[in-house]
Symmetry: C2
Subunit: 197 residues, 2 copies
């Protein structure tokens, strides 16, 4: 199943954030919430074969990873606010090295990008960047792992981590610089169409 | 410039809606807000060559159209809540047959789908549907008008209006049934790539 990994460099790891100020006071959690929507939402259905890992690196308690697993996911709605409430629930859990379950299909652990990549093993990494190989020249596969920076790009250390793996490809979706959630929507549509044909 | 037309059959036309309950009490205004995000948001930029027409048909004062024109647009942010505040401002204006300006780049008028299509003249209509011609077989053009249903499909009367025009094509983006905002993201990416090549 395709996986997405999304880093939120400044996204708040305190569950006490306000649902009424998702853009101003959460270190741009709203960006990650829109990515969750893009990863799962179909008209009257959820993409059961998708997973998304959110990596929260903001204060006061980084790193914190939140995994949404389509197969088991419940209570997900398309709007930002209700997804933020699910993230809030996950942040309330004590997180350790192993995943703990929050609500159905949502898990949390104390992991950073390196930890997530280790867990995803030898799967091909598609690092979505403005500069890279055109996606039209790539045969996408259901086992691909798509990595995206959030509001800011990945750090040099994180980029080195990706580029140090033989299975990493830097790939661009087109001539415009896109938001991460839009990249996920486009990647999944390309995958839908490539598997259908 | 490409235009999108999005019908919200039950979307509330009263500016007094609550910003804290966009999903529950607005007749699904949140769906339209996400469409506005998809139509304009680039990473650190706005698509200046795009227009989107929202057609609100809910109580108490339908029909009400709100036009977002990229060329002049200001104060647009990617989150749902702040875009909802812009819609609220537009709904506070007295609307008549002609467009009146609300905030920069945002206009409102008393128009339904028929009125909008009349205004858009003889441009080709791409009616995005689950069943239709594959988009990969179509040469997209910057002057295309993309029409989408909202939470519900268009009414039989509205569909007859579209199908009665010789320049209408029913087009599908892929094998899955997608949300309207995701359709806009995919259509714009296809347009970006077709114009670039």
């Amino acid at each position: 199943m395709p996986a997405f990994v999304m880093v939120g460099r400044k996204v708040c790891t305190d569950p006490k954030f306000s649902l009424n100020d998702l853009t101003g006071s959460t270190g741009r959690l709203d960006v990650l919430l829109r990515c969750v929507n893009s990863a799962f939402m179909l008209s009257n259905d959820i993409r059961r074969n998708v997973e998304i890992y959110l990596v929260l690196l903001g204060e006061p308690d980084p790193p914190r990873a939140i995994l949404f697993r389509g197969k088991e996911l419940k209570y997900l709605n398309p709007d930002e606010r209700s997804t933020a409430a699910l993230v809030k629930n996950a942040l309330m859990k004590d997180a350790g090295a192993d995943w703990v379950n929050s609500t159905p299909g949502i898990f949390t652990a104390r992991k950073d990008l390196a930890g997530i990549l280790e867990e995803l093993g030898g799967r091909r990494i598609i690092y979505l960047k403005e500069e890279g190989d055109k996606i039209s020249g790539i045969n996408l596969d259901e086992s691909d792992v798509f990595v995206l920076g959030g509001k800011e790009d990945l750090s040099p250390v994180e980029e080195a981590l990706l580029d140090g793996r033989p299975e990493t490809r830097r790939v661009t979706l087109g001539p415009r610089s896109l938001h991460a959630d839009h990249c996920i929507t486009i990647a999944l549509n390309l995958l839908d169409n490539s598997l259908k044909e």
